[in-house]
Amino acid sequence: MAFAAKQPIGAKVDVPVVSGEGSSEIVLSVQAVTKKIRGRSIIRGISFDIRAGEIFGFLGPNGSGKTTTIRMLVDLIRPTSGEIYICGHQVQREPEEALRHVGCIVENPEMYSYLTGWENLEHFARMQKGIDEARIAEVVEIVGMDNRIHDKVKTYSLGMRQRLGIAQALLGRPKLLILDEPTNGLDPKGIKELREFIRSLAEQGMSLFISSHLLSEIQLMCDRVAIISKGELLAVGSVEELLSQRGAYVIWQFDDREAGVRILRELEHVSIVPEHEQHIDESVLALLPGAVITSMPPDRIAAAVDRLTRSGIGITAIQKVAPTLEELFITMTEGDVVE
């Protein structure tokens, strides 16, 4: 998979700097939106803004209301109350003006399987003014599908459908690109390429709204994140900001593990995190056999090292590890399961 983002991809968004805090143009504004379906509250009053050039992560477990929210952003369903603006146009009142600035993939990139990739793109190009054949060829090149574009979509793999979906979304030079679980069906290499591709789109001024139930993905890709659970936003903020609310872990490795643990237990300000409460990336832990995970203020590390050394315990490694969003998430939702 090769997202070759050489030429300009989206609209060049002029970024008018509003006086004051230097905040840029707001591309998407969601204001106190609620949705009730058959008397059940699915979305309970969510609000957030996305600015130009921003990669905005929308994180929540399956069934938390992510897709319902996305469907409301693109006028597939109507909010029960509240308002959504895209580039200043209210989505429900002026759908043509608002949706002109949006490219999206809702859930899976479902295209007409009995048409070729090119015919699909032509179909969607006809639904919007100012998209000529050259533009179609351009988006095909951007997603690197030149050699399969004239095959029927039913012969495509999920990854190729995903790319065709992105090509479709880019056709109208959108200011906002909405991707729902975009890494589904991609291999690790594809995911990495997609991440770089998304970055390059954002650098050109496009805003991206990316939903996911995978924390690591959002953490790697996004500037800001909103966390949703049971139809409510638990937090909105920059990824670093949210993570800094939690202390870091300090991971120890000793030549004599049991002796080391005994000493650590004696120390004030140090608590050993039991295994079931650890929320560290498993791939990190796999590289640290016999690691002892503690939670402690960083300024106490020197004292602890001193105490351990005096007791004759050999320290083979010490490292500080930031908690993942997962821990943040579990703390916020108090145990709502995410992957």
């Binding site: 469907r71 043509e96 608002a98 949706l99 479902e110 295209m111 048409l115 639904m127």
Partner: protein
Amino acid sequence: MSLSNLLPLVRNETMKVWKKKRFFVVILVLLVLIPVFTYAQMKVALNNRDKFDDWRLQLQQKITDYQNQLSSERIPEEWKQYRRIAVQQLQYYLDHDVNPDSPNAVTFSRGFVEASITMFIPLLVLAVASDLVSGERSTGTIKMLLTRPVRRWKILLSKLIALTLYVSLTLLATVVLSYLIAGIFFGYGGWTLPVFTGFVIHGSEVDSSAVHAVPQWLYLFMVTGLTWLSAMTIACLALMVSVLVRSTAASIVTMMAAIIAGSILTNMASSWHTAKYIFSVNLELTNYLAGSPPPIEGMSLLFSVCVLAIWAVAAIIVSFSVFTKQDMLN
């Protein structure tokens, strides 16, 4: 809104039906069925030719048969009424020295369209109409379609226009193919043959004062026009069901049930008068041209056209108001 806005959308919808190969299925079904009926028709013609040298004798024999049935006590009164009317009409043809069953390609086409109007043509219409919206919903493509900057009513309108186009094409293909195939066996003549129309039925009496002869090409044209009206009613209703029901199978079954119910009612419900307001009882518009008695008393061409128009308009109103407001949850 200008036409130039709508044209690319209509092109999209037309292309999708075409690429789904729905219309090929329609043509294929016609190509299989028409030769079968042509063969059956040819057998009848050969059989008659063996028995009668002159079609006049054959017609006279038919009239005599019917008259004999009229004097029989075992035949229900309702049937007798049909027979009485038929006898008077056949007599009219005989008196004017016109063969109503002259075997030729135009007569066959006319007969084929007349026989197809209640079941076969509606079925072909359903092949195209039933998944216009439900198909996009079950495959999920509706999410791409409705998130483009085009208002929903325009999308549905473009589907309706494409559907109208395919209904017209289906009828055209039916007439043209039946003419071409039947011509191989019966010859391609019969365009100018006179056909009598304008029989007015009062109870069991036929008022032939308004009867006049039209050339068969004109009659075929009128038959096809009326069939188009009834096919479009089916198309509008199928579009509505396709908007309301998410699965294409459910949408076809619903429409077929309604059409079959109508044809059963047509045969048995002459005493249930309210049934005449059901759309599927009114589909057989061509009967009025031929002067057959209506399935329920009080029905006329104007009445049936109005009933069908009301159903069609109601279906369009429901389709648009639901489609433009509906939440696309999956």
